[in-house]
């Protein structure tokens, strides 16, 4: 990973650095956030490489550039908090501490993948880590997120659901229906728009009108806020406030986090037909979340080039090992085709149904 230095124009983030949610962090925790972001970056780079090698099929939506959001958000989650997102899901999976092996193997379509190779890049799941996917249909996960929050409230569990979507996804009706419902029913949900400025090749100006997008919440009396996605501390501060609102008041929030994706929409898109190289480079130079956080930690005297290099090496190796693991793993067998379709078929001991369930 190249490291670049943030430009001088960068706004002062010390207000967020001195936010209690961040001051209470131990040095180890902070270093670990850095590690996690790098881990995501390396995983994505490695998966891109594997795709180019022909090891991965279908879509591959990379999270590179947006790492501070997933890492910042997940760092705030407590035992009962849940998370759901769209198809750009590797960053969240890794931040939630899923193993690179199972993630990479999923991309390779192997039986050792987190979904046994059945879901692919867009459909990662890890319920044991409170991760509910990984969803391919734009905004299709938003009502689900409300349902997860509903389930917490129904069971009187103090927790919330963090539900992520893109800027383009705000144009789906189900997003808006859910905003009304979540506010009307006081659901403990945090809806986060990761606004990376583009819906595939369509710049935000051409896909939606009215700014900020988060203000969409105002009309349903929902709290909302804006956030810079390249500052991990700011992400933590803003999401913490929303989580608190959810947990203590059972009220939802709509948070819009500005961010950027370095890569094309999916790997088949160069990402250069609708934006300039300069635009990408500018972000990389001035707003790369990993670089910015390095600078911050350096200022705090917690990191130096040597430590960074070590972390870089370890996470890079983790990704390489994962690729090897995936490569060496077996494909699912033919019988897997009709497993995991019905819970009852997978549990013959408690299947009360009769008759034919699979047809030819």
């Amino acid at each position: 990973m190249e490291k670049t230095t943030a430009s001088l124009e960068e706004p002062d983030v010390s207000i967020y650095a001195s936010d209690e949610i961040n001051t209470r962090l131990t040095p180890d925790e902070k270093i670990d956030f850095y590690r996690q972001m790098l881990r995501i970056r390396h995983f994505e780079d490695r998966s891109l490489h594997s795709y180019q090698q022909g090891k991965i099929a279908g879509f591959l939506h990379l999270y590179s550039g947006q790492e501070a959001i997933a890492v910042g958000a997940v760092s705030l989650m407590e035992k009962e908090d849940q998370l759901i997102t769209a198809y750009r899901d590797h960053g969240f999976a890794l931040a939630l501490d899923m193993g690179m092996n199972e993630c990479m193997a999923e991309l390779y379509g192997k039986i050792t993948g987190c979904s046994k190779g059945k879901g692919g890049s867009m459909h990662f799941f890890a319920p044991d880590k409170n991760f509910w996917g990984g969803h391919g249909i734009v905004a299709g996960q938003v009502p689900l997120g409300a349902g997860i929050a509903f389930a917490l409230k129904y069971q009187k569990i103090k927790g919330c659901c963090l539900c992520f979507l893109g800027d383009g996804a705000t144009n789906q009706g189900s997003f808006y229906e859910t905003l009304n419902l979540a506010s009307l029913w006081d659901l403990p949900a945090v809806f986060v728009i990761e606004n990376n400025g583009y819906s595939m090749g369509t710049k935000i100006e051409r896909h939606s009108i009215g700014r900020p997008l988060a203000r969409r919440a105002e009309t349903v009396d929902m709290d909302w806020d804006m956030c810079n996605g390249h500052h991990l501390y700011e992400v933590r501060a803003k999401i913490a406030a929303a989580i608190k609102r959810a947990r203590s008041e059972s009220r939802p929030t709509l948070l819009e986090i500005s961010t950027y994706r370095y890569r094309g929409h999916s790997v088949s898109d160069t990402g250069l037909s609708y934006r300039t190289k300069g635009e990408i480079e500018e972000y990389r130079k001035t707003k790369d979340p990993i670089t910015l956080f390095y600078n911050q930690l350096e200022k705090e005297g917690l990191i130096d080039e040597k430590t960074a290099k070590d972390i870089d090496k370890v996470t890079h190796k983790e990704a390489e090992d994962a690729a090897k693991f995936a490569d060496d793993s077996p494909n699912p067998t033919t019988e897997e085709l009709t497993r995991d379709v019905y819970w009852e078929e997978d549990h013959p001991e408690s299947n009360t149904s009769e008759g034919t369930i699979f047809f030819e």
């Binding site: 849940q82 799941f125 009502p143 009304n180 009307l184 009360t352």
Partner: protein
């Protein structure tokens, strides 16, 4: 045995299952304070409170998806659609999310959810409100589908559906809500995938689901009274899983079969049943399998013509006679 209405049989199923398992809750338009558009949920708000009986806005996509999310977390939502027609605005949630999430998670997640409501024509509500999408539902792996026609079946199948760990579509019928039938006081369950022979017979098999079963029973009466023909009426009850055994056994006995449904013909459920029969009982067929479906057009409003559009006993009789 007590004789009760179909709607009350459904109500009893909901009541019993909500009493039995407090993870079960209900959502839908007008299900709570209004007691349901067809009074299927009457009294349940009073009994279970507004935490478990939820009136929703007209946001079918959001509340279906909310149900899926809650089911993933282990709750057991029962979602009422005022008409199955309205699932068209929630189609993606039901037939993409609910159907596929288990598979895409490699079996880590399951969606124990019931979606129920009427799916029928015959009441003069026109093309937008008269869909019978049981074929769409049954064609979707990951989904189960039942179509009860008697109060007894309605109660037993709905109870089983609620206990099922997969998404189950329960297709009811506004014309059946007011029908009566025997329902025992004791608890019972009906397994999914078990057809029921509503009338035994030896000359010809009528195979049907939903209200078409009643049409077949009437046709069988006419055939018996006027032609001394003894028709068997097989009620599929469950479309997926499907009781192929009972279907084939009946055909092997009678060697002639008419399939009757209220759905439109092209790729209606009976197209699939016909394929199965000709595949598994080819040598037993003495005549081509015949189908009777709704006349192939959007559902008409005109009450007079809608009666002609939907299969009626004389049509079944004529078709039966044509292959006997």
């Amino acid at each position: 045995m007590p004789v009760i209405h179909y709607r009350d049989a459904l109500n009893a199923a909901l009541d019993e299952e909500m009493t039995r398992d407090d993870r079960v809750f209900m959502m839908g338009e007008e299900v709570a304070e209004y007691n349901g558009a067809y009074k299927v949920t009457k009294g349940l708000l009073d009994k279970f409170g507004s935490q478990r009986m939820l009136d929703t806005p007209i946001s079918e996509s959001a509340f279906s998806g909310l149900g899926i999310g809650a089911a993933m977390m282990g709750l057991r939502p029962v979602i009422e659609f005022m008409f199955w027609s309205f699932t068209y605005v929630a189609f993606d949630q039901i037939f993409n999310n609910a159907a596929n999430i288990r598979y895409m998670s490699g079996g880590l997640v399951n969606v124990p959810m019931v979606i129920r409501g009427p799916a029928n024509g015959g009441t003069g509500v026109g093309a937008t409100h008269s869909h019978t999408p049981e074929n769409y539902a049954a064609s979707t792996p990951g989904i189960k589908v039942v179509c009860p026609v008697t109060p007894y079946d309605a109660k037993g199948l709905l109870k089983t559906a609620i206990r099922d760990n997969d998404p189950v579509c329960v297709m009811e019928n506004t014309l059946l809500y007011g029908m009566t039938g025997e329902v025992p006081d004791e608890e019972y369950l009906i397994p999914l995938g078990k057809a029921d022979i509503k009338k035994e017979g030896s000359d010809i098999s009528f195979i049907a689901h939903g209200r078409a079963v009643i049409t077949c029973l009437k046709a069988a009466e006419i055939l018996e009274a006027e032609y001394e023909i003894d028709a068997e009426v097989v009620d599929l009850r469950s479309l997926r899983p499907l009781d192929e055994e009972t279907i084939c056994a009946s055909v092997k006995k009678t060697n002639r079969v008419v399939l009757v449904e209220e759905n439109k013909p092209y790729c209606g459920t009976d197209a699939q049943i016909a394929y199965i029969i000709q595949d598994k009982a080819f040598d037993y067929l003495d005549a081509p399998i015949k189908r009777i479906s709704a006349v192939d057009a959007p559902q008409i409003y005109s009450p007079v013509l809608e009666k002609e559009q939907i299969p009626y006993p004389q049509r079944v009789v004529q078709t039966a006679l044509s292959i006997l």
